[in-house]
């Protein structure tokens, strides 16, 4: 515990410094409204992509339905905050979203996670499409027109704090006993089963946790953008999240952060190119898969501890 204290303190310091830095830049005026929106979208993408990375990268379950859970979070939080437009309402909305998408993930996950590989991808995609079609036809969600005038209860600070919290949850989960079990399922399901790991259980844990965190991303999206409609959460959105995960490295949280930043900034630069941007992204996706199938960073992670121990080792020599 004490040994980790130093590294945890450093991580905390990094998080605080990041916050202060953005705050200062905003005060000075380096980050304008446009820059802030870009940062917020990057933050939301980080939340979505890290949660998808948990499912794809660490549990090895290929899910193509992440946008569905994002939609559940967005609609729950939008509906609750429209009724209670306060910060408390936002928190309740967040919680409702987490619970709803957790339950849906459980219901979807228990049967579909028995499938493997491509079948799972198709089944989760189907599940997400079913969610979208239902949202498209319900009265309470206002059908295809979607919800608008959602109170703006999320700002860059909220997003920043939630990015930190969700990343902490995922990283700690991955390094826990349960997380190790989840990774063993990824490496070899049959071997994992033979040493007594209940593979279905751990797959479902990862899937539900991923879905719950994706719903946080959706809630932030709804309360920052202020309008949502079912077409925001189609297959395209799932693929956009997937691109971030793949680009950064399947199984690398650091990679997801880097990829979300790079793509977010690229989005800002290429904004006027419209469709051409998507053409470039899809080309990048194919080229990365052909030349470096594990993504840009592979499974490499940035670690404060290694930074220190590395230095110490050098000093000893």
């Amino acid at each position: 515990m004490k040994k980790n204290l130093k590294y945890n303190a450093i991580w905390l310091a990094i998080a605080v410094v990041g916050y202060v830095l953005i705050y200062a830049l905003e005060m000075v005026g380096v980050i304008d409204q446009f820059g802030e929106t870009t940062l917020v979208l990057i933050g939301i993408n980080i939340i979505l992509a890290t949660s998808l990375n948990l499912v794809i990268g660490f549990a090895g379950q290929f899910s193509l339905g992440h946008a569905g859970f994002m939609a559940l979070g967005a609609y729950s939080s939008a509906l609750v905050t429209q009724a209670i437009p306060t910060v408390g309402g936002f928190l309740i909305g967040l919680l409702v979203g987490i619970i709803v998408s957790g339950i849906v993930a459980l219901v979807v996950g228990i049967p579909t996670l028995r499938l493997n590989g491509d079948y799972l991808a198709i089944a989760t995609m189907g599940a997400a499409e079913i969610i979208r079609i239902i949202l498209n036809n319900l009265k309470i969600t206002n059908g295809p027109a979607g919800l608008y005038n959602i109170p703006m209860l999320a700002n860059w600070g909220t997003v920043y704090v939630l990015v930190v919290i969700t990343t902490l949850i995922i990283v700690n989960f991955v390094h826990s006993r349960n997380g190790r079990a989840v990774m063993s399922v990824r490496e070899d399901e049959i071997a994992a089963e033979s040493i007594g790991i209940n593979t279905t259980k751990y797959k479902i844990i990862a899937f539900v946790l991923g879905a719950a965190i994706a719903s946080i991303g959706g809630a932030l999206h709804a309360n920052y953008i202020q309008t949502i409609n079912p077409t925001d959460f189609g297959i395209m959105e799932s693929i956009n999240i997937l691109i971030i995960v793949v680009l950064g490295g399947i199984g690398s949280i650091t990679g997801t952060f880097v990829a979300a930043f790079v793509l977010g900034l690229l989005d800002m630069v290429l904004q006027n190119f419209g469709t051409l941007r998507m053409v470039l992204y899809s080309l990048a996706l194919i080229l990365i898969m052909v030349f470096k199938p594990s993504g840009l960073l592979g499974t490499w992670e940035f670690s404060v501890r290694r930074l220190f121990t590395h230095k110490k080792a050098k000093g000893d020599a």
Partner: protein, 292 residues
């Protein structure tokens, strides 16, 4: 009774389109175990090719259909060569992501080049409606059904009676053993992609004629539905894909006829999930035990 028959006719013509697409999925999956996500977009390319040659070069229906098949076969072979072949020995997820990338590239590339607007497909044929015992059947519906069935029979003949077909069957059973007895795997896989894509091209031209509108994203949903059809019939099986296509087509028109048109896509996904859970090998498939 009449409405039921009428819906059956509509379902059959839609179903034959799905069946043609599903054949491509099932052949590719059977041979390299890859869900070719881009297959639906090849069908879109076929529709655009048909639009182009009819509009610009004033082709009539048959030359348009045949040239679209050739064009799509070429496109399929090129995609396989550039995107899938380098990944043949990498993890299946990598290949799947590449397939998604190719699909994305075709959709956005076509949107970029030809704008994402919906175009109306030139009518190369006068639509005639026949009245058979109170059921309305248009000549286009008959055409779709007949062309699809002829193509399916041709495909079955190629696979059962030709040397290349024999090679395809051998590679799908065991690629390594096939290579040992002197089958050129690369050429066989290219040929499979060519066959599947040609069928998709034919489906694209016919759907253009039937629905009278095409756009760069038109391949997405039918592509997924055709995949569902392939899974439903038993993936890797040619008759299964045909059967699955017809079942999905009839199911979809039935949902529409019952007044749930908003949920017609959802029904297909529900069927997919149910079939994957209850009988993952499909209607005609055999269950194979997993081995370590």
């Amino acid at each position: 009774m009449q409405t039921v028959l009428q819906q059956l006719v509509n379902g059959l013509s839609l179903g034959s389109i799905y069946a043609l697409l599903a054949l491509g999925y099932t052949m590719v999956y059977g041979i390299i175990k890859l869900i070719n996500f881009a297959h639906g977009d090849i069908y879109m390319l076929g529709a655009f090719w048909g639009y182009y040659v009819i509009h610009q070069w004033h082709f009539s229906f048959w030359p348009a259909l045949l040239s679209a098949m050739v064009f799509c076969a070429l496109a399929g072979v090129i995609i396989e060569y550039l995107a899938y072949r380098p990944l043949r020995n990498s993890p299946r997820i990598a290949a799947l992501i590449t397939a998604i990338g190719v699909s994305f590239l075709l959709e956005n590339g076509m949107s970029y080049l030809f704008s994402s607007n919906v175009r109306s497909f030139p009518q190369v044929m006068d639509v005639k409606s026949y009245n058979l015992f109170g059921i309305k059947v248009s000549n286009i519906q008959v055409l779709i059904l007949v062309v699809s069935i002829v193509l399916m029979i041709l495909l079955q003949l190629i696979i059962r009676r030709t040397k290349m077909g024999k090679a395809m069957r051998a590679v799908s059973v065991d690629p390594d053993a096939a290579q040992l007895i002197g089958i050129n795997i690369d050429r066989t896989i290219s040929f499979t992609f060519a066959l599947g894509s040609a069928l998709a091209g034919a489906a694209g031209v016919m759907i253009g004629l039937y629905y009278n509108s095409i756009d760069p994203l038109m391949g997405m949903t039918p592509g997924i539905k055709a995949f569902v059809a392939a899974v439903l019939g038993g993936i890797g099986l040619i008759p299964g894909a045909a059967l699955g296509g017809f079942v999905i087509g009839i199911l979809e028109t039935a949902t529409q006829a019952l007044g749930f048109s908003a949920f017609k896509d959802a029904v297909v996904y529900v069927v997919l999930i149910i079939i994957l859970l209850v009988r993952p090998a499909g209607i005609l498939g055999k269950n194979i035990k997993e081995k370590v």
